[in-house]
Subunit: 115 residues, 2 copies
DNA sequence: GCTATATATAAGTATATTATTATATATTAA
DNA sequence: TTAATATATAATAATATACTTATATATAGC
């Protein structure tokens, strides 16, 4: 057995979660930087509750973890998830999304949650 | 660049498609055997139109191709799809589903579309 | 304690998804 | 040409999904 195997039903659940442009982009960004909610709100053209709801789903599936830092809640990939290997493999096929964070910096929007 | 990159929006569309237990299982089975519709109907506990509709979606996305053989239409993975590499990578993480075809053979149900 | 900020949750709504049943189409074989 | 089989499509209904707005909670700083 070369790679870790994931039960097909669980895999489908994870893929369905990742089958949303916003969530997939979030996960790709988190692969290189931890982020707080407000950064995602600035990146995506949608409301804060919508972002929170996406993050909740990712958290419920165990794909991400949250850490409170003062007022902010920092999200990161959960490297201990049983799905981490399959997700990592997937992400390798996606183009880097860091330019989205760069755009924020240029607009001076990525200030709020810098500690 | 080690692996082929897929635009994030397209990737999300493909992952959403694969984020369904039936479709994901179909694709995993097709990875080792071409199949006709009637085999899938026998494998999954659902109606023939439901199967046809799943296959239609996979076909529309370019993930599978169909070949008519007499009365039967044989589905196979489309190895020329731009998504084939990412899908292959994914499938490596899933347990083999050939036992489902085996079960059919044992029940004598995998007869119809044998040429 | 009060106010501001960051985030989460609840309720409601519009839309998408997936199944079902009924029916159409294509092929084979008599 | 007719009947049987395999498959596709159409219409519809149940359910799931992803937003929105309104509100609640948690922390920071005064």
């Amino acid at each position: 057995m070369e790679v870790s195997k994931v039960e097909i039903e669980k895999a489908a659940t994870i893929l369905k979660l990742l089958g949303d442009k916003s969530r997939l982009t979030m996960i790709k960004i988190l692969d290189s930087h931890d982020c707080c909610v407000c950064e995602f709100v600035a990146i995506f053209n949608t409301s804060q509750p919508a972002i929170s709801q996406h993050l909740r789903k990712l958290k419920d599936a165990g794909l991400v973890i949250e850490t409170r830092r003062g007022q902010w809640i920092i999200y990161s990939l959960n490297k201990k998830s049983e799905f981490y290997p399959i997700v990592q493999n997937l992400l390798e096929h996606l183009p880097n999304q860091d330019f989205k964070l760069k755009e924020l910096e240029e607009k001076g929007l990525r200030i709020s949650c810098e500690s």
